[in-house]
Symmetry: none
Subunit: 406 residues, 2 copies
């Protein structure tokens, strides 16, 4: 849907909307023929499934496996195809770095280079957070400008950092320098296009100069003696989520990337060191008076899926279920529980499978779903929708959309 058209129908009110995203929630059958949702004991989720309207959403398009960025961007109503955000921008946005439009950002992985110039360790021995911060500060002091362009360094987490090039029009269509395997030499950064723009050639040159200089500065480091760049992207702000829908949007997440994507949409991101779900929900409670739309992110379901750990995913789901009454107690007018994508344990990775979604509101039309699961929700009243259809539905059930046309 055209966001401006949708925006033109918005009428603000006092309602509150909670969108709880269990990362990688969807799954396929495990060893006993059940999905983790089917295997888990979820009295609270099941009660909501019975009370609300259920269905499944397709994150990007049938068959397309989304990264975390596109998956969330879609849930927030933006076209994920047209608003692809590179890793460089996404990871940096998860920190307190303040972007300027036009900034070119690349994700840095600190690596260990062997004396023969091949990559010995792609994560520099999984450098810890303090060490990562130290090395980034060292680089930041040494490299502030290359070839007339300002260079900014940002620590992200552990062995991950970001390099931002500012002050010139640059084209981010560049390949990564990470060879993806140890024992190979790092790659030169090259434009992706057959006929690159002058801005892409310039950006590649800057990136390669940066890698060279960084290598010189880090020559004395035991572990982190090299940087690899990937996920080049130019920062362009998304349409502001708060302005589009005339509400105060608040994000509560533990992981930087999800804070980042919320921040890129213009949400206020709560950052009080929360790690556990119960801490996140405490922050939701604490800040509930300060917002209208709340994005709550729960990571464990995805991590368990990526690890192929069926039992851990079941227990993550049960952990969420146990905390759910605390969210209900806040009495939001609309409570929506879903995932951003599926992460089937047997695949150990994100997947394209539709994701269960349950929406509870006074105006929700009840269906016959009694249990919160992929299979049960096939009978749900929402049917199988696109992830981008969810936001208009949240607005509608919150009474925040006026009639279209006479």
């Amino acid at each position: 849907m055209d966001l401006h058209l949708l925006s033109s129908l918005v009428v603000p009110n006092q309602s509150k909307v909670v969108l709880a995203v269990l990362d990688g929630l969807g799954d396929i059958a495990g060893p006993e023929g059940l999905t983790p949702l089917e295997a888990a004991r979820t009295p609270n989720l099941d009660r909501l499934a019975e009370k609300g309207v259920c269905g499944l959403h397709i994150p990007v398009a049938p068959g397309i496996t989304p990264g975390s960025g596109p998956a969330h961007i879609g849930l927030f109503g933006y076209d994920p195809w047209r608003n692809l955000i590179g890793r460089g921008v996404l990871d940096t946005a998860g920190t307190d770095f303040v972007f300027q439009p036009g900034d070119l950002a690349a994700r840095i992985n600190y690596a260990t280079l062997a004396p023969d110039g091949t990559v010995a360790d792609r994560r520099a021995g999984r450098l810890d957070d303090a060490e990562g911060r130290r090395v980034t500060q060292k680089l930041a002091r040494a490299i502030t400008r290359i070839d007339g362009v300002q260079v900014l360094l940002q620590h992200v987490k552990d062995y991950r950092a970001a390099a931002i090039f500012r002050g010139e029009k640059l084209d981010a269509r560049l390949g990564d320098s990470d060879p993806q395997k140890t024992g190979f030499k790092p790659l030169e950064v090259k434009p992706l296009e057959q006929k690159p723009t002058p801005e892409a050639l310039r950006a590649a040159r800057l990136a390669n100069l940066f890698i060279e200089q960084a290598a010189r500065e880090l020559a004395g480091e035991k572990k982190a003696n090299f940087v690899m760049l990937r996920g080049f992207d130019v920062y362009q702000p998304l349409e502001d989520f708060c302005r589009l829908y005339q509400w105060r949007a608040v994000a509560v997440a533990a992981y930087p990337m999800y804070k980042g994507v919320a921040r890129l949409c213009g949400m206020r991101v709560i950052d009080e060191g929360q790690q556990k779900l119960e801490e996140e929900i405490s922050l939701l409670e604490k800040h509930f008076g300060e917002g209208d739309f709340f994005f709550l992110h729960f990571k464990k379901t995805d991590s368990a899926g990526e690890d192929g750990n069926f039992a851990a995913k079941v227990s993550a789901i049960e952990e969420f279920d146990a905390q759910l009454p605390r969210i209900e107690a806040l009495q939001p007018q609309v409570l929506c529980i879903t995932g951003d994508h599926s992460t089937p344990c047997v695949l150990r990775s994100h997947s394209w499978h539709p994701v269960p979604v349950c929406l509870v509101a006074e105006s929700a039309r009840r269906d016959d779903c009694r249990k919160f699961s992929e299979r049960e929700f096939l009978r749900g009243g929402l049917g199988i929708i696109h992830s981008t259809d969810l936001l208009p539905l949240l607005l509608a059930h919150a009474g925040r959309l006026q009639k279209f046309g006479a």
Copy 2:
């Protein structure tokens, strides 16, 4: 779907198609956990549900609540987003007024202005039809031309009329003059855009001059001493429904607005003073030999929903059910029964909820639906479709579409 592409596949035949629209049919659960369709006794509708293929349609897009115009436009196969029709044109089209392309139409509400210049009654004491007609004729005699532009007055119903400005290129992107509340002064008509076109500035000027002159002419009236304008729109004919699908389309409705939208599509509108459903069906019987496609509109379901009257909606549904065998007796090749949108009694207004649709034809693939209801139709063979998908399905089941491609 692209209408020209669809049109290119049409092969006329002798089949007849009846599309019966129960306005605002869809609902959500009422006090006893049932929707009006679930609560009503509907042996005939249920029999058709068993015999035909069922499903639900989304009128405009998920979460979007349509006005009557967009809701019907979608059922007739036109993209409701791109063919938004303003109230001025829609209401006028429901009369016998003959539009010319480029006419700018505004809906008039007669109002009572207090001596202090504020609106005392937004409907001039709900002026009756005869009085409304008289006042409109008075205005029509007095005002025929403003600033070189022709002005036409059209009675619509009761306190409602329309003003049409003809003979110059005008831009309808204008705000209403109705302050929407009594005790406030009427608004000046102003362009909606920040940077209005010269045509919008000109149109605003004409509208304001008309309001001034009308006030002078009506100064002696006790009730209707003022006009308020809203729903400005420029008439642009839609692609002709009869030419696109090579059939004779006939509309039977009691309310002007539904006649209007059918007329705007190019349907022949039967206008023999019909008010009750049984009268409408008598006209359907009478004119059945004269058409191929029949649009039958039943208003009561929507009115009951708007009034929040659950029992009245149940009884309207049962009234339709009782008349249904008369429609079946005409033996159309395709009989489709649906609504244009939902009007849940508890919301007392139109809503975004998907609308049940049942299509009966020889070639319909039967499903497991046994009852005509929102919940039952979630199991239907049509699934959840967009309203604009219905027309191609009607054509297909009527054998009026040839194969696409070799």
